[in-house]
């Protein structure tokens, strides 16, 4: 049941084959068993059970609120949740309990969804591994999958496993791992440079980044206001469409959401891709791309062509400038957005109180990790009067060029672009941390951040397993506000790809082994 798609569970709930409380309890139990994944910062057990009970009452009265009623969902810990600690995996907000719900959280709750917990992330969503938060790194569930172990010839010695586990990707690694390990049916992530799609690819789940302006950011603690969007992580494309249908639409509290009415849609079950034109951007064929991922990408292009779609090579000529451009604009906005964390109104406050200035300085030094502080310093540098024109304005102009690349390609008849999501499959944590956060982000964001720069919708679809038995995802990028078309193409592809289900048993064995280990220590 936990592996089922949203629709199926929803039907089961309506038919009484399972109750919301049972479902909730099973998820909670699985969360406990898979605690070593470190996907959750806060597990809202009491709230969830209460919400499940309410849902159950509604089902008994035959008054379910919709497809999400009674469904356990998880929310990345940078979304404000009323009465529930929201930390952004940072010391700065440890113990911070917001008095309001983010709009997207409220929408989920209004539909009867059961909030099962807040998920782990890189501190303030800065990173591509979910390794740089104060609660420790998130482990990719596939580290413990049968598929991975078989391929890697792993023996079952615990020490080996424990040190060779893989990163989940980031920064929404916790949400991706939560969905991937079946502890919830959908999760909210955030996506600023790829933070939903990257972990989705590494964890073998669907990661959707909607068009900027479609989904409200009110209550999403911002990283880059002009690029952030709430992201949706699910196990299949249909589920992503269902969740999008609940979340999308104008929010008066967010002036950057568009006013046009949004009509929730259901994806067709029969899809004919021969009427579509798929674009393959040649600039994305870069040296760092692993041969496996390249092969998967090629195979996918062939798949479309064989089905009658028009598959053509296109050019996004300013791709090579996008990382640097992104870095300037991102750090500038970060420097600005982090200015409010001064210890006065909420969050961490240092004990040093000789003067306001010294309190600010100590609070921010104690509250932020190196990654955050590094970006603040860079950002402030770029915003200095003497640098503003050279860096910030220049980057904005380059951003316009990058966005125009997509406009030009889409205007020439291309419906959807097909690209890799990441350079390769997930690497072991010990290898990942050899490079610093900035280097990793620059590498890992390469295929994903152009969609944030241009505001376009993009989705990562789990496609195939690598030679190591780990997920490889491919990305589709669509026209602005054309999520229906984008997800239709993605759904067709998902059907063709037939990506395997994560084999869970080994993970549970691992959990048992861990607990046995503990027992032996004490005996």
């Amino acid at each position: 049941m936990l592996r089922a798609a949203l629709r199926e569970v929803s039907t089961a709930l309506k038919e009484g084959r399972v109750s919301p409380t049972e479902l909730c309890q099973r998820c909670l139990s699985l969360i406990k068993t898979t605690k070593f994944l470190n996907a959750y910062i806060t597990v809202t057990e009491d709230t969830a059970l209460r919400q499940a009970e309410e849902s159950e009452k509604r089902y008994r009265r035959g008054q379910s609120l919709g497809d999400l009623d009674g469904i356990p969902v998880a929310v990345k810990d940078n979304f404000s949740t009323a009465g529930i600690e929201t930390t952004c995996a940072s010391n700065m907000l440890k113990g911070y309990i917001p008095p309001y719900n983010a709009t997207v959280v409220q929408k989920l709750l209004d539909q009867g969804a059961v909030l099962i917990g807040k998920t782990n992330l890189d501190e303030f969503a800065m990173g591509s591994g979910s390794t740089d938060g104060i609660f420790g790194p998130v482990r990719n569930p596939w580290s413990y999958s049968r598929q991975y172990k078989e391929k890697c010839g792993q023996n079952s010695r615990l020490e080996n496993e424990d040190s060779s586990w893989l990163i989940a990707g980031g920064s929404s690694g916790g949400s991706a791992a939560a969905v991937s390990s079946f502890t919830c049916f959908a999760a909210l992530g955030s996506d600023t440079g790829g933070s939903t799609r990257n972990p989705a690819a590494h964890c073998g789940v669907v990661g959707l980044k909607p068009t900027y302006g479609l989904v409200s950011r009110h209550g999403l603690i911002p990283l880059v206001n002009s690029m952030d969007v709430p992201g949706i992580l699910t196990r299949c494309v249909d589920d992503a469409a269902t969740v999008l249908g609940v979340l999308a639409g104008h929010d008066p509290k967010d002036s950057t959401t568009v006013q046009d009415p949004f009509n929730p849609f259901e994806l067709p079950s029969v899809i004919d891709v021969s009427k579509f034109c798929i674009g393959i951007p040649k600039e994305y064929h870069i040296p760092g791309l692993s041969s496996e991922t390249l092969a998967v990408w090629s195979k996918a292009a062939d798949l479309f062509e064989n089905a009658g779609a028009r598959v053509i090579e296109v050019s996004l000529p300013h791709t090579c400038y996008s990382i640097v451009c992104y870095h300037v604009l991102c750090t500038a906005e970060v420097a600005s957005n982090m200015a409010r964390f001064d210890g006065l109104e909420y969050g961490h406050r240092s004990n040093i109180d000789k003067s306001t200035e010294s309190m600010y300085a100590a609070t921010r030094r104690e509250g932020f990790n190196d990654v955050v502080r590094g970006r603040i310093l860079s950002g402030n540098y770029f915003l200095l009067k003497q640098n503003y024109e050279k860096y910030f304005i220049k980057a904005q102009k380059v951003r316009r060029l990058i966005a125009n690349d997509f406009v030009n390609v889409f205007n020439s008849g291309v419906d959807v672009l097909l690209t890799p999501t990441t350079l390769r499959d997930a690497v072991p944590y010990v290898e990942f941390i050899k490079e610093d956060n900035r280097t990793r982000s620059a590498q890992d964001d390469i295929f994903t951040q152009a969609a944030n720069m241009s505001g376009l919708p993009a989705v990562s679809i789990p496609t195939a397993l690598s030679e190591k038995g780990l997920p490889i995802g491919l990305q589709f990028v669509g026209h602005a506000f054309q999520e229906l078309q984008l997800l239709t193409v993605a759904k067709w592809f998902e059907k063709q790809a037939k990506f395997p289900i994560l084999q869970l048993q080994e993970m549970l064995d691992h959990a048992d082994a861990l607990s046995h280990q503990k027992i032996s220590l004490f005996s």
Binding site: H218, G219, S255, T256
Partner: protein, 470 residues
């Protein structure tokens, strides 16, 4: 033989100085809620009781522009003859201060809502304040921005208390001052802050101009600095906590799209007036500006221009005057004197505003009607008004009766009194009959004395003249 004389004329001249003053005026918009958050605006509320999540800069909150604030800015721009920018932008101005929770202020630095206006103003000069001088000041720009909170420093406990309500201090002014010689480029300017009244503004500016002139004439230089006005000492002093120049790191506010305003021409057909801010719609609904009102008052009532200024400078006085004119038969040219010289004089004495006047317009109109109908004399009316301003709540008629100020209208009564006076002052009568008309005033005066000034002087004169000619 020519001798060339070269005459060196050395003279020390003090080349004239021209000061340049720029005022930065922070005016709070009269609206029910704040500019970017939904929370209420209310004068004098308990500290931190009107603070929304956005005001407290809780993470994840976003600004939402208040329509009424935009309309107010457009109205102000139109009233000051500015060009209204149909597209204006919002920026973040960064600095750290306890009363600025987000670490930045949302303002309009790059492209404000209105620019290039002017305001002409007139003031009275001369011995009798009757000469009018008109001047013009340029309005460089009008911009919408967030107000900061209020901080109260408690030095005794080394504490600063912050109130994020932001409803106090409706008008604040900073003055920028520089001096230069005409024909030369502008001098370095200083900014003077902490000015909290118009009187001190004048003092601060005058002081600063003088200080700069003296400094420069002594060979010194002016620093581009911020100074604070010490109103006890009457001078400006450098502000110590500004170390070096502040770099505000301006950045576009990413959460607020450009503000687009429309006019009748640019308004798309399918959009209603309520969905957007329409400059022309606002223009049509602008109330008459003071200059227009003044012209109308002069034309309609025949009053002097300087009177029209007074009427508009006192809150509610114009309405008061017009109400009185409506209710009385007295010529407005005479009413104005009663309103400005008499009534306003008394109000100033008791430190009352027009709205607090113990004599309302109907009351004054009644009084003036009594005068017009010659029930009382002019001096009696003045006396009554003075009494009424004490605020005892009596009507003019009551006061007149109480003080027995009615003029004696009775012809035969007056006749008798005049006769009596004439009989007692035969000498004067003779003089008048001999041709000395001036003595008639003395007789009138004597009749007045006899009647305790209750005789209508015009009637008295008529009766006496008639008798004298017999």
């Amino acid at each position: 033989m020519h001798t060339n004389y070269m005459l060196f004329l050395l003279f020390f001249s003090v080349a004239p100085w021209r000061p340049v003053v720029g005022l930065e005026i922070h005016a709070q918009i009269n609206s029910n809620s704040k500019i970017f958050s939904g929370s209420q605006v209310q004068f004098i509320a308990p500290p931190n009781s009107l603070v929304s999540f956005f005001d407290a800069s809780l993470p994840g909150t976003l600004p939402v522009l208040n329509r009424r604030c935009v309309e107010a800015a457009v109205m102000t721009g139109l009233a000051l003859s500015c060009s209204i920018n149909k597209k204006s932008l919002f920026d973040r101005k960064h600095y750290f201060y306890a009363d600025l929770p987000a670490g930045y202020q949302i303002t309009q630095q790059r492209l404000p809502i209105a620019v290039n206006g002017n305001l002409s103003y007139t003031f009275c000069v001369g011995a009798k304040q009757s000469q009018l001088v008109t001047k013009n000041v340029r309005i460089k720009r009008i911009q919408l921005e967030q107000d900061s909170g209020k901080s109260l420093h408690n030095d005794a406990r080394s504490q600063t208390l912050i109130d994020l309500n932001r409803a106090e201090g409706q008008l604040r002014v900073d003055a920028n001052v520089s001096v230069h010689h005409p024909g030369e480029p502008y001098g370095v300017r200083t900014e003077v802050k902490n000015i909290n009244s118009l009187r001190f503004l004048a003092k601060a500016v005058d002081y600063e101009i003088q200080r700069q002139i003296e400094e420069l004439e002594n060979g010194g230089t002016i620093l581009n600095e911020t100074r604070t006005f010490d109103y006890k000492l009457g001078c400006t002093i450098p502000m110590r906590d500004k170390e070096g120049k502040q770099d505000y790191r301006f950045m576009p506010e990413p959460n607020l799209p450009p503000l687009i305003l429309y006019d009748a021409k640019s308004l798309p057909a399918n959009i209603g007036d309520q969905q957007v801010v329409n400059i022309d719609w606002i223009q049509e609904r602008l109330p008459d500006l003071p200059s227009v009102k003044r012209v109308r008052l002069v034309e309609q009532y025949g009053i002097l221009p300087e009177h029209s200024f007074t009427l508009l400078n006192e809150d509610g006085l114009m309405e008061f005057f017009e109400d009185v004119v409506r209710e009385t038969q007295m010529n407005p040219k005479k009413v104005i004197g009663w309103v400005i010289s008499e009534l306003l004089g008394h109000l100033k004495q008791y430190d009352l505003t027009v709205k607090e006047s113990p004599v309302n317009s109907l009351s004054l109109a009644d009084l003036l009607n009594l005068l017009e109908r010659r029930v009382i004399s002019s001096s009696a009316a003045k006396q009554v008004l003075k009494e009424l301003c004490k605020g005892e709540g009596k009507t003019p008629l009551q006061m007149v009766k109480e003080k027995q100020l009615e003029l004696i209208q009775n012809q035969s009564e007056l006749d008798q009194i005049c006769q009596a006076v004439m009989e007692r002052h035969q000498e004067e009568v003779m003089e008048i009959k001999a041709g000395n008309r001036k003595v008639l005033n003395k007789l009138i005066g004597l009749v007045q004395r006899a009647t305790e000034r209750r005789a209508d002087p015009i009637l008295v004169k008529q009766i006496l003249e008639k008798k004298l000619s017999q």
